[in-house]
Amino acid sequence: MKKQSVFERIAAAPYVAWSAMFIIGPLLFVVFFAFTDANGSFTLDNILSLPSYSHTFGISLGFSLIATTICLLIGYPLAYCMSRMSERARNVLTILMMLPMWISLLIRTYSLMALLDNGGLVNGFLTGIGLPKVTFIGTEGAVILGMIYDFLPYMVLPIYTSMTKLDRRYLEAASDLGCNSVQTLFKVVLPLTMPGVISGVTMVFVPSISTFYISQKLGGGVFDLLGDTIERQFQLADTYYIGAAISLVMMILILISLAIMNKFSDGGEDIIV
């Protein structure tokens, strides 16, 4: 590796300081609390108590995997179609995709709640046409729908970006070598847009597995996800320690899944043009 010049080091200093304070610092605190008890002495009790939360880990992982998969199944074809539209249509759709990202997630979740509530718009419509009400809030479906609704743009945009970067010549070469459009999609487009898929999956999976307000608002308090548990532990001041342990394990889980995905796309970095 190239040796850094003095100037480069000075220029990087503020960033290093910032990272130390706001990224490394909190991480260290998490690790610290995860391995200490109320007296501040080292203990493994926090970690060892985690098996009693295995149900929470289970449903969090399950919900976020389902939400991520559905986002991918909706997002990939959507991004593919967008990339093949006329420039105007493309720009309009991109704005439509980005617009919700400018609104606070919390507000978006509340608005979905307003739609799905027992006295909400959807049920109002259903009763209006003479159908019975449906209870959405408090079901698995509502929580997963909330995740999809909140995070879908984060799946579409990176995939769309890698689609637009995809050189047309590769598509022409595939066609030249005998691929119809479906074969081109699977043999060329999909592998070459893998980097976009990886970042899309990451950007949906990570917030999904750590969310707490979606399950609180749309789950009606029925589901205790990882985020809810951590939040509660931190809110009840003297149980920082369990919360930190859960956070630590969750972080490790996320890192492992990211590593697996990167392996899966092996050589992905060469593809990014």
Binding site: R169, D176, L177, C179, L192, G267
Partner: protein
């Protein structure tokens, strides 16, 4: 050439945003022919090739393949393969998988794919490169992978779009020979695009010279060189002095104030014409023996010969001679009757042929800009 016509372009026109790029192209390509589309950058060569490959549809006119109308047949259903201008090798596949791509799509058995890829790698001199990533290959190697990837499908026609443009001179020469050999060995029809006239002349059975979206001339390399149809072709192919002349009668042409014997006929009496005289066809003689007389304004040593610029009554000629003459010397020029090539006046008359602004450096500069434009 009596071989059957494989591809026929019939009155093909194409415009982008109202800008005409191809203007009624008529072209017949014969089986097993090595045909080259030659012309300056932007004249429509690539577009013509893409019509044959199926990547563009003509606004007007028809493409026939083996006598069948082909306009709306998509590329993947054409027995045509392409070596793209910058190769377009798949970055996610290694050399083996790139070359095997077409056969895999055809769902050929693995054993067959293995042998064929091996044969192809041998053909393009890349034995042992199977597992290499394409991004680690040099330009010349990538280019050969691109050729192998196309050839393995045993197409009827191989389209090559400036495949050697990115290579340095030495490698380019080697690859020209290799391509020519491959074409002989496989018997596949090659349609080759280049803006390099030397490449076109040395490789092709037939050269198609294009300018401004129109075909100027179709012929063998010898025909194109010796009998250019107009000033554009004469200027584009090799060096030439293109002089205004008047055809006094059959076999008699007047230029630069002198009446010469020539071997051309069939023009009107006193018809104004363009006359081509190649630099190597002018003899330097003693002043009193010369048909024309001129002042040497520049001398460049070229190894085999000297290239001199001679001012004859204000028109600068380029002449190649093995005798040394000095700058500032007045010399006589003598031209044999069969050295004249007479052409009808055309839209290109007067645009080319004078070497008054000529210098080697300028020529090199313009080559470089051309290459940059290609990028």
């Amino acid at each position: 050439m009596n071989k059957e016509v494989l591809i026929r372009l019939n009155g093909i026109s194409k415009a982008y945003d109202g800008e005409t790029v191809l203007d009624h192209i008529d072209l017949e390509i014969h089986d097993k022919e090595f045909m080259t589309l030659l012309g300056p950058s932007g004249c429509g060569k690539t577009t013509t090739l893409r019509m044959i490959g199926g990547f563009e549809t003509p606004d007007e006119g028809d493409v026939f393949f083996d006598g069948k109308r082909f306009n709306d047949v998509p590329p993947y259903q054409r027995q045509v393969n392409t070596v793209f201008q910058r190769y377009a090798l798949f970055p996610h596949l290694n050399v083996f998988d790139n070359i095997a791509f077409g056969l895999r799509i055809q769902k050929r058995p693995d054993a067959e794919i293995k042998t064929k890829v091996k044969d192809m790698l041998a053909l393009v001199n890349l034995k042992g490169f199977e597992r290499r990533k394409v991004s680690t290959l040099s330009g010349g190697q990538q280019q050969r992978v691109a050729i192998a990837r196309a050839l393995i499908n045993q197409p009827k026609v191989l389209l090559l779009d400036e495949p050697l443009a990115a290579l340095d001179l030495k490698l380019r020469k080697d690859m020209q020979n290799e391509l020519k050999n491959i074409q002989h060995q496989t018997g596949i029809t090659f349609i080759y695009v280049t803006h390099d006239q030397e490449e076109a002349l040395s490789m092709s059975d037939t050269v198609v010279v294009m300018a401004h979206g129109q075909i100027q001339q179709i012929g063998t390399p010898t025909d194109i060189y010796n009998e250019p149809i107009n000033a554009f072709v004469a200027d584009f192919i090799g060096e030439s002095n293109i002089v205004d002349g008047i055809m006094l009668d059959d076999y008699r042409v007047k230029l630069a104030g002198h009446i010469f014997d020539c071997v051309d006929k069939g023009f009107g009496k006193n018809e104004p014409v363009d006359v081509v005289i190649r630099p190597e066809d002018v003899d330097v003689v003693a002043t009193e023996k010369g048909m024309l007389r001129g002042l040497v304004t520049a001398v460049t040593f070229k190894g085999v010969h000297y290239e001199i610029i001679v001012d004859v009554k204000g028109f600068k000629w380029m002449i190649q001679t093995t005798d040394f003459v000095a700058e500032g010397e007045t010399i006589g020029l003598s031209i044999d009757p069969d050295a004249f090539h007479i052409m009808k006046k055309s839209e290109f008359s007067g645009m080319f042929g004078d070497y008054s602004s000529f210098s080697d450096e300028l020529e090199k500069l313009s080559d470089v800009t051309e290459e940059i434009e290609e990028e």
